[in-house]
Symmetry: D2
Subunit: 142 residues, 4 copies
């Protein structure tokens, strides 16, 4: 599993004394961008080819908080990919406390000029790697 | 259904030219806070009594975008309340375009000194109104 | 002076228990957008004509905090306008506490296709009103 | 000079296609926190001792943009420290483009229970290092 990590920032806290719940949605995006980079298909390159990859669904389950100055890591994996819709799974851990903080998922489509497109034709390298990773995921699940 | 609304701000956009998906999570919070106010149980008053109401789950389904300077409204309703866990449902509409943009939900618990507490004893007025609204919701569903 | 206002939101707080200092920079933008709207030159219309108005300088002096659920107002005025550079002045007041919170300024230029342009030719209506307001400001200063 | 750096994130962009100007204020904070860590006086430890270090002034001059996925670095130095007020200077560079993007400063005081305190008595180790760095700064300026 790909892992992205950093320290939680002061501007991400709220007056409850913990990281605000919307910040985790940004952390998922940061991890997703780093994951695509690691796959050799940087998101800025995808946009340069005229394709955007909007979020169409997110689900986040908050279990334990992360606090200012604590280190966290976000594990990202391809949960499902059918050539049209990409679903990613996320596990956020608090490295400082050694706790599992958040389990989450996001769904994405691929748009060009506002219309859904197939990564197979528009982004063949990304399509190949997502296909491979989703098949490995299915095998792991068995 | 309680409705909260305002205009989408420039700082809420991203380079895709639409409101960033994490902003909707903040809009849900803004609507929730206004909803509690309208119920006569302002969130600042809840915190003054030593109780916090963290988010333990969110799910957001993005259907249509909202763009800068467009007006949106967030409808909020009590989807479920069992005296311990509160689940709210949200419907975000783009008033400028007349479209349904986002359907979402959030789950919350009630904590005092880090331990789950019962609103029935800690916040009886809030408990009464949430109980009433969740019962109306069940009747509507029938 | 034009005045924009609303309530401070929970997601704008930090663990110091007050509104985070970066949020005020967003409030200045919200007030600026509302000010341009009130002048009949909405910012979305300016961008539709291919012109962007980036921030080239800000200065903010924080005097008193704003807290969650308190109401604030941002007064905006044209401090200077020379046909190229626009400088706005801001006064943020805490309506709930009746205190002056923040005094600030921002400077802006006008860009089209990445090059500085003159509002006089590109946005004549905006140029006229900014010129008038900056002259009134000079008279007030005397 | 202490240097903090990372990549610019997608959620930090706006529809102008560049990093939103309020994000730089957060980057200054991130760099300041890392700087205090490097000095051996982590900000979370300062708060644990009951002292907060609010921002009382910022000034930011934006020269060149940073875009999504570009790397930036923030240089931080002690510009002035008189035992009561701390002024930091910041230089933000776009590593990807090799450009100077932003020059900025921030001023801070030290509060305990809402009243200004002297770091000399409350945070002697921090006081010593800030005093030394501000004297080095004066010598450099000569």
């Amino acid at each position: 599993m790909f892992v992205y990590g950093r320290k939680a920032q002061y501007h991400e806290t709220d007056q409850m004394g913990v990281i605000h719940h919307a910040s985790y949605v940004k952390w998922m995006e940061e991890a997703r961008v780093a994951f695509l980079d690691a796959l050799g298909c940087g998101y800025e390159e995808i946009e340069r080819q005229g394709v955007v990859v909007p979020v169409i669904e997110i689900a986040v389950s908050y279990k334990k908080p992360v606090r200012f100055a604590e280190s966290f890591e976000v594990g990202v994996r391809v949960a499902r990919y059918n050539g049209r819709i990409l679903e990613l799974g996320y596990t956020i851990r608090n490295r400082t406390q050694g706790t599992l903080c958040t389990v989450a998922s996001s769904k994405h489509c691929f748009l060009k000029d506002g219309r859904m497109v197939s990564p197979k034709t528009e982004l063949p390298a990304l399509h190949a790697v997502l296909t491979r990773l989703s098949e490995e995921e299915k095998e792991d699940a068995q």
